[in-house]
Symmetry: D2
Subunit: 371 residues, 4 copies
């Protein structure tokens, strides 16, 4: 099921960018969770186009409708079907791209793989597909926030934010505590360090004015997780997070804890020594990034995701058409010069989905029977 | 199934480092493949301890036995069970670690997750688990080499090698062509650039003499792949490769193509323009790393994996015991000061497993019926 | 994923009988299949209420809408989302049942399992859920009819029909050839033997007039299948068919080929001897029912499914309410006195889904690579 | 994974009847379960050949070895690998069958599906494959017996027994209570009604003396189950049981509760009315067989499985060889004239596997989080 994700808390997304709409079916959701469309909408609003002056000016309300699985404001344990109708599809912008392969897009690979493709707005390969992930992620987040209380009084909190746009990098020392949502949302670019954020915004605007695009890096942190999530071998927590992140459009890399920089360290520097902190076993440092042996260890989980620059640029580019004939393509349409700010809630959503799923898997094996 | 990997070509590994042995069951293998134990053994020999003077001196023959699924030298389409008996288990070295949590190992997380753990040699969390992956990967490689011929005359080749140990980085310009197996295997460290390799070997020996350890980076390249492998949304080829790599012990990061450096580029620099090269649609550059929209595009696939320094070091480290009491632990046993050279065949094995699985998935959907 | 079915050709159904609608997402569908909403509607019309005078008089058009996965009349290889809006939901009929457990319905088990339930029309346990199965099955049938041509000139045909209602059993000798669709659809009861069909219709009307209900048996036959579908061990073709059938509401039994009567035979009577019929290996008899060792053998596949009488009857029945207090319940609403006639297209749909899935699985393992 | 079964408590079987051995890997087993090889052996002894004078006289000890997943007598939560070495393989008996297709065996379908097959003893299609199921089932039974105590003081008990051999049917009134293991094991034929059992034994011996074989029916009952196991739609408890049973060699049918006879009843006869029995909600009758809406309802679960007569008979039979040439085949080897008595522990094992898996699934969704 290439369009499904998760083993016990499973989502299946469907829809094209220029069809009737985009949707998701969530299967395996725990029952009795209080959930309102507004809570889901709040996350979709963080993702939707037109939310600020550095993202695409397309106007899509992206209003979510709950079609099943909720009764009197609570989940019933049966599938939740959510969908968002497409409203602003100007297919004409894509019409001349029907026979051309846009560079670094999925046009060519879809064409060869399936023998045909829906050219409007990239069809299924459009980033609008992530609407379903964000909608489902909103429910997963709610579960973690409420249901996590048993294991961690504060609930589980997930916070993603931008640390790099193009070559502008937030100074590591800029963040001393777990960033608040307000700090992240304070600027359109979702970097919690205001001076860096302002430079990033300027950079994005400058690049856009040149018809070009830039990439960036998102960091995501999670606190309040219990010890024990993740499986020892193939389904390590970081393996499933890596898959989740690399399944997002435009991603090129993932690193957990010390990441690639960890390769430069010695074991004596990198090891996280254990200590007894007020009766709880904790690690002194956290180069591991919150897991050991693939299983959460009670420390803060943190990882970073690299995004390439947006493939659509408003400049002429050489390419070929479906017959292989060389041609030139000029990007049209209303695109993000940098997708990374809008990807912040998407990274959080995928993280929530992985965590709920692993929490359920852990519980199934280790809490169902008592010996 | 936390100990299984793959959807159609599926492996299930089992075994602890100090039990009777380590094994793997391969389900879904295509029938009629000629395979001999020697071909599997050749890959295991690249992974086994004691193969050179920079790895652990443990002496394990790691001799593979085929228990099922092969008849008269060919696979039958039914499960292949392979196993390797453990021969050199000196559990005494671990005895005093029974009640201590080794820093940056899985002892603590297993203890909490399961309520008990097998302390001998790390039990299931031992890197010996990767024996099953390498054995299965040898079969997957054979399939790609032979079966790939239909799509690519030279067959599919997978080559991993080391580009970094500690802070020693192979110069990017050192490799101008797809490295040969002989170039990689020329030195014990498996870096195909001889001067860098020699410095790396010296560094590993120096670090070992100090009772310390180092990490590194492996790059893996694949050529000969057809266009069309990978699924559009969650099971993108790079998503499944990222999961495969982050499921390996000691890994901290994954990047495909331009990777984290790609975040620093502009779209106009990063986009891979299409051209018609001798009647075949190809890209001029390959920042994408061999996929677009999660699907292989016929270019060389390449990615890098970061490994942390070995957690076991032969120096005293502060830790706690199972009761939470602070204590000191001194690593014993015979360990690799750097696991990265022995991880090269493991990275190749996981790559082969992902590719065969996706090839079968692609074929199932797109070649079963003709409309 | 309790609401999904199939490994490669996968369907996920959602929706409640009295919510906005009922839907299905189909993942893994081969691309380029020509499909029109009318073809799906034709199957839904065979299933919908109000189609004859022996089924529930509820008036639901059950009009299907295709929301994704089709471009210019052909499938694109991406998920097809189909849905049917609910139009005739008179929830008031169920209001007083909110706190009562209807005998032999799922009210009590849902209530205990999930801690809450949607009482309107049985919520998710309503047989309206099968709309999604029939819609998806229509696509699977089209694939088998067209795509099967390569292997069998006539394409694959699936024909279900009723052989028993209450104690009225169609004489086995009544059918001498593979029944045509016209023969099955000739009467509202879908028994191809007209005299038996007429008696069945009378019985259903008589029972309905008494406020009671009856069950029955459906037989399903498939011809044109290639040899080789089905897996040897757990996923035998008959195992997956049995699961498919027992997953339908009101089913109590499944038997393939000789079935329960086969238990009364000797091996010398039951064995299907092989012969060479015009150059093709065939069996002289077909007690096996079309599979051997769980794999299709090229003979006609046939099996029977038992349905219990409709649980909802229009007579007073003793039951308890959610507090455990004894009470009396009188069925209301507009129900089928016998669900079996409307179950005929549902049985066919599930059969088609199993067969397409296994065809793709077989092809993946045995046709992807050539050795 | 055609050789795997179960979603959370998963088994993967491997091995051929005449290779080195037969094995199973169990993944997802809850940790800390006390288990000894003797407990597994006890179930294997009920299944092994040579146990009585009405089964095959082959002498195989079928001695189980635990290769992983157990530490100090308790499961560790990691995979259990179990295997049984083959000791009595007289391949010569099969040699002349290499090129002939045995009637009603899997020879022909394997040959076509895979393009080759291991002819010795049926290779993978041998009923020896069920060794792995019985071994894994012994662990599942232990879990249900011990772990079930929380929900049902007596633990969960599973009891299968024979109700029919050939046309000899145990009178339904012969059993008034849940049969004890001693009653079932009292005779070699495992029918708890002594007079019927004796007639069955005579019949099997008579048929064997004629070189023929017979089939039969097994009933399985389960008591002590909690309410709530099973999923509403595709993974209904009876659907997964039906699949489990039809995945066994030689099975032709499955029915739950009233089964095929239920099709002859009216709703007013068949419905199970609810009552309050000593403060617990129970049903007055149990035609449903222990589930409603696919979910266990706290009543006794019971179902029946039909087995065809053994395909191997010691009489000449017409068949064809691999080239399609007509030939005659005379069965050799030492075979069961009736496999049904030895299938009793296999039916119990598959039942236990389904129940543990569903218990874990239910717990994951409904007990992980509390809202």
């Amino acid at each position: 099921m290439p369009n499904s994700f998760g083993k016990l808390f499973t989502i299946s997304t469907w829809g094209e960018s220029h069809g009737p709409g985009i949707g998701v079916v969530i299967d395996g959701c725990p029952p009795r969770l209080p959930i309102a469309a507004e809570e889901i909408q709040a996350e979709l609003d963080r993702r939707r186009p037109g939310q600020s002056d550095i993202v695409t000016p397309r106007k899509e309300a992206d209003a979510v409708e709950i079609l099943s699985g909720v009764y009197q404001g609570r989940t019933t344990g049966t599938p939740l079907a959510l969908w968002v109708r497409n409203t602003d599809h100007r297919s004409s912008a894509y019409r001349e791209m029907t026979d051309q392969f846009r560079p670094s897009h999925a046009d060519y690979t879809y064409h060869v793989k399936y023998g045909l493709r829906d050219p409007n707005g990239g069809g299924r390969s459009s980033a609008r597909e992530t609407i379903g992930r964000v909608a489902a992620g909103a429910i997963a987040r709610k579960i973690l926030a409420i249901g996590g209380k048993a294991a961690a009084p504060a609930g589980v909190e997930i916070r993603a934010f931008i640390t790099q746009i193009h070559d502008l990098v937030m100074p590591p020392e800029a963040i001393t505590a777990f960033p608040t949502l307000a700090e992240v949302e304070a600027t359109a670019v979702r970097c919690p360090h205001r001076p860096t954020a302002e430079a990033m915004i300027e950079r994005i605007k400058a690049v856009r004015s040149e018809g070009d695009s830039v990439g960036g890096v998102i960091e995501c942190r999670v606190r309040g997780l219990p010890v024990g999530l993740g499986e020892p071998v193939f389904d390590r927590l970081e393996a499933d997070l890596a898959k989740a992140m690399l399944s997002l459009p435009a991603t090129k890399g993932f690193e957990l804890g010390s990441g690639f920089a960890g390769a430069r360290k010695r074991g004596s520097e990198h090891n996280d020594l254990f200590e007894n902190r007020d009766g709880v076993i904790r690690t002194v440092t956290n180069h591991s990034g919150g897991t050991q042996g693939g299983i959460s260890n009670g420390e803060e989980l943190y990882f970073r995701v690299a995004f390439k620059p947006t493939a659509t640029i408003l400049r002429p580019q050489a390419t070929v058409d479906v017959t292989g004939k060389p041609t030139e393509l000029v990007g049209k349409g209303r695109h993000d010069p940098c997708v990374v700010p809008r990807a912040v809630p998407i990274v959080e959503a995928m993280t929530a989905l992985v965590l709920v799923d692993h929490w359920m898997r852990h519980s199934a094996q280790n809490r169902t029977f008592e010996f």
